[in-house]
Subunit: 292 residues, 4 copies
C-alpha cells in the first residue's frame, strides 16, 4: 500500500521501518529532516503535503495536540493535499476533542479518519508488539488493518466514533500514572518501615501486579456487580485506616491513601458498608451524575 | 503437627479444613461455636485457652486488631495457656504496631511469633492457593512452613522482623484499593464519554492489567532508576492534563487524577521533567524526608 | 466623561446606573437589548461598536473569557471601533492570559487597557461599595479613577502589568471557595457530632472569621516569617490528627482535612516541626520550584 | 475562689498569673517545677494531687491527650484527690473522645467536668483576651465563669455536653489550618505570576480576610440556604477552572484548588449549577450521609 508516515520520534521511527519491511511503499516526513533520511527504503519528503500526495493511508505520530493540529490543519497542513478517499490514521495520544475535529475536517473533504492510539514503548514498536486502539468508520479501519498488523500484536475495535479510542488510551495512561503514584507512596512507606525495596517488589510483582487480581476488579466494576461481597467495603475502610495509621507513625504522606480514606468513609457513611469493597466505584459514578 | 486454629470466618474455615486434610491434628475455636463444630475431623474447643493447650503452632485468623488483641492478650487470652516454645502464626490483616506488641509478649513468655498475613480470597483458601507473607525468627517460620504449604501456593520470606510482613500486606491492599478507585473514575469517564464498559474492560484487562506493564514500573521504582526515560515525566504531565480536560468537559470528578496532576506539575516545576514519568515516586519519597 | 458600558448583568446594570448618577455620559450595550433600555439616562446602542464610538473609557462586565474575547476582538468586536487613545477597563473575572492578549491588541491600536476586576456582590455594586483591583499603565488607570470611584469604596493599585490584577482577583475567589468547602466540611462534622449549626456559627463568625486572625496569618506567609513559632507546626499536625480522628469516628469525609494532614506530616517528616504552623506555606512554595 | 492550675506552658503561665491578679487563691503545678515557682502569688505544689486538694475548681492546660489523660486519670492522677463537688475545667485542645471519658470519670466520683478550650495566642492570654468555648452542666459552668472572665474577653455557651466544645475548638483550628494552606498556595501562585507578596497581602487582608465576607458564607451554610444564588455554583466552577489553568501555566501545584475543582464539578454534574456557589456544602453533608 502507498503510505505516508509523519512524525519520526522514538515511536514513529521504528513504526515507519516496520511498514517498509512489510513491503509497503512509504513516504516519510519529520520536522527535523535528518530523522526522515534515516528510514532506509522510505522516500523522505520536505513537507507534510508532499509526503501525503498519492497516499492511500496517512499515519501520524506527533508530539501533542498542538503539533497534530498544525501538521494536519495548519496553513501548510496536509489535509488539503490528501486525496479524496484517502484515510488519516492518527496514532499519537491526542485529546478526544481534537480527534473529533479531525474527523469532521476530513469528512468535509471526503477523506476518512481513524483514531488509532497505541499502547507500548519504543521496544514494542521495534518488535511489532504494540497494541492499537482503533475507532472510525468500518471501511476506513479495514483499510488500515494491514498497516496496524505490521506494527502491532493486536488491534482492538472500539467502534465507529473516533474519540472513543482516544478516551480509552487516556484511561490507560491514567491507570499507569495512578499505579506509579501509588507505588511511589508504597515504596516510601516500605523504606520508612524497614522493608527492603527488593523484598517488597518480589511480593508485589509476583502476587499482585502481574496476575489476574486487578483485571478481576476491573470486571466487577465494568459490570457494577458489588454483591455478594468478596471482601466487604467496611473491611476496606478498616484496612485503609491501618495504612494511614502506619504511614502517620512512620511520617509518610500518602495523598492517594488519604483520598481513598475519604471515599471509603463516604461509602460507609452512606450505608454501603456491606457491598464489596470495589463498590466505591459507585460513588465515583454518582459524583459524575450517573446512576451508580 | 498439633495445631490450634482460632477464627473460623470466610477465610479461616477453609484454611482449617485444609490443615485437617493435610493430616495435622487440629483443635479449633470460634466466637460463635457452630462454626467450630462444622470443621470435620477437628476438635472443637470452648475457649481459646483450651484450644491452644498442647499445640505446637497456634494459627489465628481474626477480624481486626481489637479481636486479635483480646483473643491473644485479653483477660482470658490464649497467650498465657500456650506452651513455652510453641509458635503463634498471626495470619489476619492487623497493624504492624499490634504485630510488634504480640512479638514482644510472646517472646517474654518464651514463645515464638510469626506474622503471616495472606493474599487471596475464600476460593483461594479452599484450593490451597493463598500466598503467605511470613516474617519472624527463622526457627519459628521453619516450624510453620508445612502448615503454610497446606493452605498456600507460595510463601514469601520477609525476614526476621514480624511487622515487615504486616506492612507488605497493607501495601498490597492499598494498591488494590487504589486501583479500585482509579477504575471507578475510569469507568465513570468512559460511560460519560460514550465508551461501553465492556469495550473498556476488554482493552484494559488484556493490554494493561494482567500483563507485565505495572510490575515493570514497580521494578523501576524499587530501583529508583528514572534515567534514561522510557516516557518522559513532562509527557506524563501532558497526558494527565488531557485526562483532566476530557473529564472536565464530560463533568466527571476524578480526585486521583487531580492528585496526579499536582504531583506531575510539581515534578516539572522542580526540574524533573526529563526523568522517566515514574520519577514522581522520588517526590513521594522526598516528602517523607527520604532522599529521592 | 464619555463612557461606554458593555455587559448589563447582575453586576453591570447597577454599575452603569451609578455612572449615570455620577454625571457621566453613558452609552450602554447588552446582548439582550431590554436590559440596555432599562438603564435610565443612558443611551442604549445595538452593537458594541456603536456603543464605544466617541467614548473616552470603555468598561466591560461580561460573563466569561469567551464572551469578553468575542465582544472585544471578534469579527464585530469593539476594539476596531474604539478611538485611538481611548481606554478599555475590563472589570469581569477573566483569565490573566486573555488579559495579556487584550493589553497587546489594544496597544497595537494605540489604545489603553486596564485590568480592573472587582470584589463585591450586586448589592455592593448598587451601593457603590465594590473594591476595584486595578492594573495597567499609570495614565490609563488615572483616567479611569473617577469612574471607579463611582462604583467602588476603594481601588487597589496593582502596578502596570494588567494580568496581575486578574491573578489577585482569582486568588481572592479561590480563598472564598476554599473557605466555603472548609465550612461545608466543618458544619457536616458539627452536625454529626451533635453541635447545633447556630452555635457553631456564633463562635466561628465572632471569634474567627471576622476578626484579625486570618489576616495575621496572611501577613506571616507574605513575609515568610515562620520563626519564632506562635504555635508549632508539630502541634498543628497534632490538631489535624484530632480533627481526622473525630471525623473518622463520626463518619464525615473531609477531603481538605486529609490534604492538610498530608502537608503537615510532610512538614514534620522534613524536619520543620519547630516552625510556626503557618510554615507549611514553605512546602507549597517549594513544590512550585520556589525557594521556601 | 480556691483554684488549682495544672500545666504552665506558653498559655498556662499567663493564665495562672491572671487568676492570681484577679484575687483568687491559686495552687499551681507543672511537670518541670521551675515554671511553677515563677508564678508569683501562687502556691507551687509537687504533684497534681497536692495541687488540687481543697480546690473548688481545677483548671488544666496540658500538651495533648496523652498528658491530659495521665495527669487526670493516671496512677498518680489528680481525679482521685479532687474533692467531691469540685469542678475540673479542661482548657487545652483535646479530643472529644477523651473529653467524654473525663466527664464520665468525674461524674462517677461526684465531681463536675467542663470542657473549656480557648481561642487565642499567648499574648491574648496575658491580656485576658482569650475566648473560651465552654460546655458542661449548667451549675459547673456557672462556677467557672468568674475564672473564665479573668482570662477571656468572651465565653461562649455550647450547651451541657462537654465534647461539643472540643469539636468546635477543633473546627476552629481546622479552619485556620485550611486558610494557611490556601494562603500558601495563593502566595506561591502570586510569586510565580509576578505579583508582589505585599501587594497581594494588602488586597487580601483589607478586602477579604478581615471583613464580613467569610462570616457571611458561614451563615449561608449554617442555614443551608443556597437559593437564590448570589453567585452561581456554575460560575464558581468557571473561576476554579481559571485558577487551575493559571496555576498550571505557572507550574504551581495547588492541591486544595484541585479538591475544589472536583467538588464544583460534582455539583454541576449533579444538577446543582444554579445554586449559590456555597451550595457545595450540601455535597459535603451528603457524603457524610446527612441530608443536604
Amino acid at each position: 500500500m502507498r503510505v505516508a508516515f509523519l512524525g519520526l520520534g522514538q515511536m514513529g521511527s521504528p513504526m515507519a521501518r516496520r511498514l517498509v519491511s512489510a513491503g509497503h511503499e512509504v513516504a516519510v516526513w519529520n520536522r527535523s529532516r535528518e530523522k526522515a533520511r534515516e528510514i532506509e527504503g522510505a522516500r523522505a519528503e520536505d513537507t507534510p503535503a508532499d509526503a501525503v500526495r498519492g497516499a492511500e493511508v496517512v499515519m501520524t505520530m506527533l508530539a501533542d495536540d498542538a503539533a497534530a493540529q498544525e501538521v494536519a490543519l495548519g496553513a501548510d497542513g496536509f489535509a488539503a493535499a490528501m486525496a479524496e478517499g484517502a484515510v488519516h490514521a492518527s496514532m499519537s495520544t491526542i485529546s478526544p476533542a481534537l480527534s473529533r475535529r479531525l474527523a469532521e475536517e476530513h469528512a468535509r473533504r471526503g477523506q476518512g479518519y481513524v483514531a488509532a492510539p497505541v499502547f507500548g514503548r519504543p521496544e514494542a514498536a521495534e518488535g511489532g508488539k504494540l497494541r492499537v486502539l482503533a475507532a472510525g468508520p468500518k471501511e476506513a479501519v479495514k483499510r488500515c488493518l494491514p498497516l496496524f498488523d505490521a506494527v502491532a500484536q493486536q488491534t482492538f475495535d472500539l467502534g465507529e466514533d473516533p474519540p472513543a479510542a482516544n478516551v480509552v488510551k487516556l484511561c490507560g495512561n491514567f491507570i499507569i500514572a495512578s499505579m506509579i503514584e501509588t507505588l511511589g507512596e508504597v515504596f516510601a512507606l516500605g523504606r520508612k518501615s524497614g522493608v527492603a525495596p527488593e523484598a517488597l517488589l518480589d511480593v508485589l510483582g509476583t502476587a499482585l501486579l502481574s496476575g489476574p487480581i486487578l483485571a478481576g476488579y476491573a470486571k466487577t466494576i465494568a459490570e457494577s456487580r458489588y454483591e455478594p461481597a468478596g471482601f466487604k467495603l467496611r473491611l476496606g475502610l478498616k484496612d485503609v485506616r491501618l495504612v494511614l495509621a502506619t504511614a502517620d507513625a512512620a511520617e509518610v504522606p500518602m495523598p492517594v491513601a488519604s483520598a481513598l480514606h475519604d471515599r471509603y468513609l463516604a461509602g460507609v457513611a452512606q450505608g454501603l458498608g456491606d457491598l464489596d469493597w470495589s463498590g466505591i466505584a459507585r460513588l465515583a459514578a454518582e459524583s459524575a451524575g450517573l446512576d451508580g
